[in-house]
């Protein structure tokens, strides 16, 4: 993904310098405002002081005054003292999206530094599950979000576990992505490079997104898988086996995934060359 340019519906941004996050958030929310969305900026601290973070966004203070923009402390948008409940948290944003529409906006756009919500294993696990639920909601509702995480507080592995649940992520945050598709025939989209550096990541992402949780016959869009090794195919296969499910896998001819499915004939994976 390029360092500059327009960011998409659901982006993970891992930052080293808070100024970098503020710049991305400002750009992301400006584009939202220009498109008629209500925007919300969420970070740790006093909302009055957080307003200064977005001083470079033209017209932000008047937008706050009119209700077109909001600034929230992390504590008021999330229960920062407990592990989040993914469904409940999604409901918060679904309600806010509906409210934005009811108030005459085209939708809702959020930029949030949620680092403080993922500092324990249990919190990170719940948050990553929530990220996928939110991603599914976003493909069919006018909610967009920039989810930012501070690398000072997280290991590269933890950042990757969060980033891989987004269709877009900052450079080098993750080498795998598992996310929802706008196409109703696709249960989940898999992108990236899967090798020994990312087998555990793929395993965790599948468990958290759980695309076969409700459906024993799923379709995976793997057209964007640039590489996968045989162990990666087994990670996919074993996930399906735990769910007693099968998957049709859409992939490119001559891709490593197509070659491996043809050679290994894993019983739960069916190839669909596109």
């Amino acid at each position: 993904m390029p360092h500059s340019g327009s960011l998409g519906r659901h982006v993970c941004w891992a930052f080293d310098d808070p100024a970098d996050f503020r710049l991305r958030a400002a750009q992301y929310l400006s584009e939202g405002m220009a498109g008629g969305a209500r925007v919300i900026y969420i970070a740790k601290g006093d909302p009055e002081l957080l307003l200064d973070d977005l001083s470079i966004v033209q017209g932000f203070r008047p937008a706050v005054a009119s209700g077109a923009a909001q600034v929230m402390s992390i504590d008021s948008a999330y229960d920062a003292h407990a592990t989040i409940d993914p469904a409940q948290q999604l409901q918060f944003y679904a309600d806010a999206t509906e409210q934005a529409l009811a108030d005459g906006h085209t939708g809702l756009r959020v930029a949030a530094d949620t680092t403080s919500l993922v500092l324990t294993d249990a919190n990170l696990d719940a948050f990553a599950r929530y990220e996928h639920l939110a991603d599914r909601y976003m493909v069919s509702h006018p909610l967009t979000a920039l989810c930012a995480f501070d690398r000072d507080w997280l290991t590269a592995e933890q950042v990757a576990q969060l980033a891989c649940m987004h269709p877009q992520a900052s450079p080098e945050a993750t080498q795998v992505r598992l996310y929802a598709a706008a196409d109703a025939q696709i249960d989940v989209v898999l992108d990236g490079e899967i090798d020994m550096a990312s087998h555990r990541l793929l395993h965790a992402a599948l468990e958290r997104a759980d695309p076969a949780g409700q459906n024993s016959s799923i379709t995976i869009d793997a057209m964007g898988v640039e590489f996968i090794d045989h162990e990666g195919v087994y990670v996919l296969s074993e996930y399906l086996s735990r769910r007693a499910a099968t998957a049709t896998v859409r992939c490119r001819p001559e891709s490593s995934l197509a070659i491996l499915i043809q050679l290994l004939s894993p019983p739960r994976l069916h190839l669909e060359i596109r």
Binding site: D195, D229, H230, E254
Partner: protein, 332 residues
Amino acid sequence: MRTGVAAGHRGFFHQSAFYGSDEEFLAVVTPFLADGLGAGEPTVVAFSPANEALIRAAFGNDSGLTYLEGEAQYQRPAGAIRGYREIMANLVARGATQIRIVGDVPHPGLGVPWEWWARYEALVNHAFAEFPLWGLCPYDTRTAPPEVLDQVRRTHPHLATPHGSLANPAFEDPREFLNRITPRWHDPLELTRPLFELRDPPAAAARDAVTQAGRATELSGADISGLVLAATEAITNAVLHGRPPVRVRIWAQPRRVVVAVTDHGTGPDNPFVGLIPARESDDGVGGLGLWLAHQMCSYVSLNRDSDGFTVRLIAETPHPQQSADGAHSGTG
């Protein structure tokens, strides 16, 4: 009910024969095939075009023989094993009590490196043991080098001669044979400076280098994909099962890319590694990745020396005139 000299034998009856003329070839092969057809046994021929023409001339086109294209069947040993196992499983499921197969195994006399075919000849004693197979491997003494003929004698428990079948006293236990042979093979390109030399690279960096090397050649996209996958599997094995440092060297010519992955370990203990999938071998450690490499590359060599264990992976596209006459370029 098995027939001929394999009557009463359990499993694979693995036989070689040596011939120095078309007449000697036909003297050994014709009765093998005629007796199989006479007994109603599935009888399969996988020869190069010249030997197939001799058989077609002798038997006609409606003989009941099953012809496989020899060059396709013997493109890679891991593929030959996989292909023959599928054929035999189907035939046994349909009631075959003996299957006869005769074929030309490639060697440097035909422009093909021998090492992995030597491993094949030893390994099939194990890999085909569950099938009621009588396999005949005739070798042409006019073209096969002495090293090949010597190793053929050590890997076939039976010999077919004009005077009948003999137990072969030179036959060695396949595991001992495989542990003993020390491949001397190097690709000639290795005498030149590598295009890339990487030490302990992340697999993704090695993939980028292999892809870059491949794109500057005439290799197809499928060949490059296969080589990238094989190189990743070899590096993964070196990291997980070998000893550091892991060195990756890449050479390229217009029609060929060579990737050598070296670690400082001693390599897999299982002498059958690479030619049969790990789940079917006795020791699955790291075996499936090397089996995949053997399925996808034009050639794979496994070499132990004072540097450690090296997996050589080669992707090659034949010269147009060579593909027409079936010869491979001389990397042997």
